[in-house]
Amino acid sequence: MNLFRYSSPPAFYPLAGKLIPWFAWTAAALLVLGLWIGFGIAPTDFQQGEAYRIIFVHVPTAWMSMFIYLVMAFWGALSLGFNTRLSAMMAQALAPTGALMTFIALWSGGLWGRPTWGTYWAWDARMTSELILLFLYFGVMALRNAIADDRRADRACAVLALVGAVNVPIIYFSVKWWNTLHQGSSVSLTSSPKMAAIMLTGMLVMALAAWSYTIAVTLVRVRTIILERECGAAWVFDLSEVRAG
């Protein structure tokens, strides 16, 4: 079977529809399991008390925030290189979830920082680069909104996402070196004592939950985008849900 068949929106639309329940239910099950491990089973940390449990939300969303940007840039590059429509739609569908993950990572980090560091915000290297990542997501989404023509928006956003992807490591290291020049490094995850196995398990389960959630939500969004863009095409009118509506 030729997998490239699914790069065409009419072929991908039903496939996405079939995949969505699987990923959605997986996400829900993993979320319940991960939260149960995180808040029920995992022991209280002897240094940080109960506040450390925020990492079960914080770390998976922070991972996803960076990973989604790379995936978005990858789909953007594909759409630029091969002029494929669906990859651009995937890039478009990923951006809001990426921004959401970045926002949750920042917000939960602030909530964790208040009891642990005594402050909601510090000009720490990771936090600053995460904040800039949020600005990059907003930039891509704002550019998309500003351009009326879909194809131009696709390609413009792809160029911007690629330039951003080149810049993200540079931003990260610049921020890191800038910080070390001024002050000693604050608490960082790499220097904290080795995590208990059960905590690590909970975090990984939550990471998989975030992963499944992202896939499910992106597929829902990409289906909507396909319908929006292909609303003049004949195959859309043959869909049972369109007929019923």
Binding site: L80, F138, A146, A156, G164, I170, S174
Partner: protein
């Protein structure tokens, strides 16, 4: 051209050099000429820089040590804003009157033409800002060595601002509210330049020497010179489609 027109139409016109360098010099000369025909506009942009820099001591305290600490950062942020404000001049006026389309249709390679325009943009905005900076640094009580490093960092860093800015300027061509959109797109990308640029002066003041920061800025400049014109040219083509 002094050839009779019918010879040109028959294709007897002498072969002209359509290489990258020729395109670069052509675009550079053209944009410089246009810029010097509206000298008042250039002056206003520089005045903006001067005014913004002069506002910060009024907003905080005119205390010497505090101003010397924040001076490099203020001068850099003002340079970023001055570069940002002048970016629309890069492509927007040419886009409005259709010149940009003709430029994109010309036999010269588009990245070379874009490079020429970027160079002209830097010569008319970044260079004056870097030259003015030591003078404005006096308002912030910076010492001689800091002023020299500040000027050097601005000389290396402002071309990066023009190069990155050209990508944003091309992406937002002809869009509604493109001014604030451009700021949102470009300012996050300017962050490393700001950090290393202002960091160079801070390092000198801390007794560490500016070599590391200036080298990183230089490396960034080389990467931007190689990559940005192609991205900006691609963005121009996208905007013209």
């Amino acid at each position: 051209m002094d050839m009779p027109i019918e010879n040109q139409l028959r294709g007897d016109a002498p072969a002209r050099d359509h290489g990258a360098l020729a395109g670069f010099y052509w675009a550079l000369a053209r944009d410089l000429q246009l810029a010097f025909r509206s000298r008042a506009e250039l002056g206003v942009q520089l005045l903006f820089y001067v005014v913004v820099v002069s506002l910060f001591p009024l907003a905080s305290t005119p205390e010497r040590t505090l101003l010397a600490t924040m001076g490099p950062g203020v001068l850099w942020v003002a340079a970023l804003l001055a570069s940002l404000l002048s970016l629309p001049r890069l492509f927007a006026t040419d886009h409005l009157d259709g010149t940009l389309e003709q430029i994109a249709l010309s036999p010269y390679p588009l990245p070379a033409l874009v490079s020429g325009k970027i160079a002209a943009h830097w010569l008319t905005t970044g260079l004056p800002v870097a030259v003015l900076a030591p003078l404005l640094g006096q308002q912030y009580y910076l010492d001689g060595e800091s002023l020299a490093v500040l000027a050097a960092a601005l000389l290396i860093g402002t071309p990066i601002l023009s190069l990155l800015g050209a990508i944003g300027a091309a992406l937002t061509l002809g869009l509604k509210g493109s001014g604030s959109l451009l700021a949102l797109l470009i300012l996050p990308l300017y962050v490393p330049v700001l950090i290393f640029g202002a960091g160079a002066v801070d390092a000198v003041r801390a007794g560490l020497g500016a070599a590391a920061n200036l080298s990183l800025l230089g490396a960034g400049l080389l990467v931007a010179i190689v990559g940005a014109p192609f991205a900006a040219a691609a963005a121009v083509r996208i905007a013209l489609d």
